[in-house]
């Protein structure tokens, strides 16, 4: 091996390192604020509680992780190039998307798998309509989270399905699209339903009562987004192509 040192081939990191420099200083466990509160406390049942005084401190902590995607880096590089890859075990034939570089079928004795390019087509295996989420995704709400079986794969990959939340169903055929801004993460791609499909009668969400309640609470989520982030419903629908 001639070229035996670690060498950066492409670098989209420098700006974020600079931006995070200030964050790292903020997130230094230093106390940035405090409160005194009176609150129920003590042993026993609810009715045994007494009032006590406590001091609370605000202590931030931020960090920038630099994480390797390892041997499946090719998959994420593929996303940047608008291609979808999976892997296939040459011994048992199982196709994996998400890819794994070693087959998990115990009879294959950790065989190395081979890369295959997959079509940008799949099927919704299961889904949820998300009306609340973790911090990182609040501004994406509301969205359909689905596990999609990409054509030719034996496993499923989670992705968001861009459609009216009341339209999704198990077995729905989808096309996989890529966003304009791609960073090499699953969010670089999303699914849209293939046109002209009818919602099956036996779809578990296809019940007028369920849809009515879902509509009601979707309005609540839109109101929350406008109040917290100033996002209008129309803006929310436009954000996908970016």
């Amino acid at each position: 091996m001639k070229d035996e040192k670690i060498k950066v081939i492409k670098d989209e990191s420098t700006p974020i390192y600079k931006e995070w420099e200030t964050w790292a200083r903020k997130g230094n466990f230093r106390v940035e604020g405090y409160q005194f509160v009176r609150a129920p406390c003590g042993p026993g049942k609810i009715e045994d509680a007494k009032m006590g005084e406590f001091m609370l401190v605000n202590r931030p902590h931020g960090a920038l992780y630099t994480h390797s995607y390892g041997l499946v880096s090719k998959f994420f590089q593929g996303l940047i190039d608008k291609k979808l890859y999976g892997t296939r075990c040459p011994k048992c034939g199982t196709s994996y998307c998400p890819p794994r570089m070693h087959c998990w079928n115990p009879v294959c004795r950790v065989a190395e798998t081979e890369w295959v390019e997959l079509p940008l087509k799949g099927m919704v295996h299961t889904f949820s309509v998300m009306l609340f989420s973790a911090d990182a995704f609040l501004e994406m709400l509301p969205f359909v989270l689905a596990y999609v079986q990409v054509e030719g794969s034996d496993t499923t990959v989670p992705m968001q399905v861009v459609t009216a939340p009341t339209n999704v169903f198990v077995g729905q055929k989808v096309e996989i699209k890529f966003r304009d801004r791609r960073m090499g993460e699953l969010m670089d791609m999303y699914a849209v339903p293939v046109e002209g499909q009818k919602i099956p009668k036996d779809s578990c969400l296809n019940n007028p009562e369920y849809l009515k309640d879902l509509e009601r609470d979707l309005q609540g989520t839109y109101a929350y987004l406008e109040k917290r982030f100033g996002l209008k419903k129309e803006d929310i629908e436009k954000r996908w192509k970016k």
Partner: protein
Amino acid sequence: MSRVAIVGGGIFRGDRFRYENAEEGVAIAFRDLLEDTPELDPQDIEFVMMSYFSDHLNQQLCMGWIIQDYLGLHRKPGYRVESGGSTPLDAIINAYYLIKSGYYDLILVPGWEWMSEVDTATTNEFIASASDTDWDFTVGGYYNGYYACLETRHMQLYGETVEDLGRIAVKNHNNATHNPYSQWRSEHGTEYITLDDYYTDRIVAWPYRRMNCAVISEGACCLLMASEEIARKYSDTPMWFEGVGLGTDSMRPGDRLADWPYRGVYPEDEKRYPENVKKPKTPYPDMANFGSLREGAVTAYKEAGIKTPVREIDLAEIFAPYDGVELVLYEDLMFCKRGEGKIMIREGIVERSGELPCQTSGGLTAFAHPVGATSLMQSLVLYWQLSGRIPEKFGDKTLQVPDAEKALTTGHGGTGCQGGVIVYSR
């Protein structure tokens, strides 16, 4: 080999905010145990098996050392067990193995979690870092979303309804109104709820409403475990371990369509896959059932000699962070066949007046869910149940299951990545 028993317990009630810090909460739970177990000299404790889930939530690694130190038990051997939501059950099972193997006779199991130092969305985010952060978390998933997807799949395959999920929620919340240690009662009082209340509750991740999801809590619990030789020194009513079992499944639920280690292991369940749905390579568990819990149940029932769980077990405290998990586990714990979970709730079998009451405590959605303490709290309730002490402990006899002899509890981590089952007897 010696039998093993739970011979005492103490609780520091879980609630949304508790401002005593973790070591103080654990100390209060330990003092509660000492008051209930006058024969216990803390110096006799031989090992401390500590249970807490997250290092992120409190900006503190190795909190177990703080706990041992604060309780004055720091000369003793001890370590921390961690396996997501299964943490507290695995801690109990670890202590069981150590006593069973003859290494120790008396082990203290303290468990705790302080989950409200960051806001709710951040708590969700920290917990979600127990899922695959390259492949599951990055698309906006977190546990409400993953579990909702799992429940949607089961619903599509086996036809339970939103009403069935609502019935489980109503059952558990109404049980919790009789539990004076429950977070639901602390926040909402003792009035019963109905299905109508359930329908007005906000959907967070369809098909789940807020009431279907585990609460965020701060709280602590301590259990005392002993070998047969010394158990009766501490308790007149030891709760014996009859069988334990552990199991695991894939990290990512989406991979369970080609879940090779499960292929052909449960042929009956594979056969019960509906004809009109495209079959994955491995039809059980798919993204519908929990293979890890099935593995745990099979092992535990074998050790306990249980043949027909629904008849032989008198009550269960299931670790169900979502109500669909409870319904699906009726199947994986073999209370009924795959696809029949809905019948268990529709026919009232799991109500407190039914043949196999589940979650008399209120469970994770209504009792409390300070992760590292949760299974300890559920086992403590079973200890009180099997010794007939619910009226004394709760000041209310409603939840007491009369003459209960055998009880079951489970642990559940990740998206069913880790599972465990314990069968107890009085």
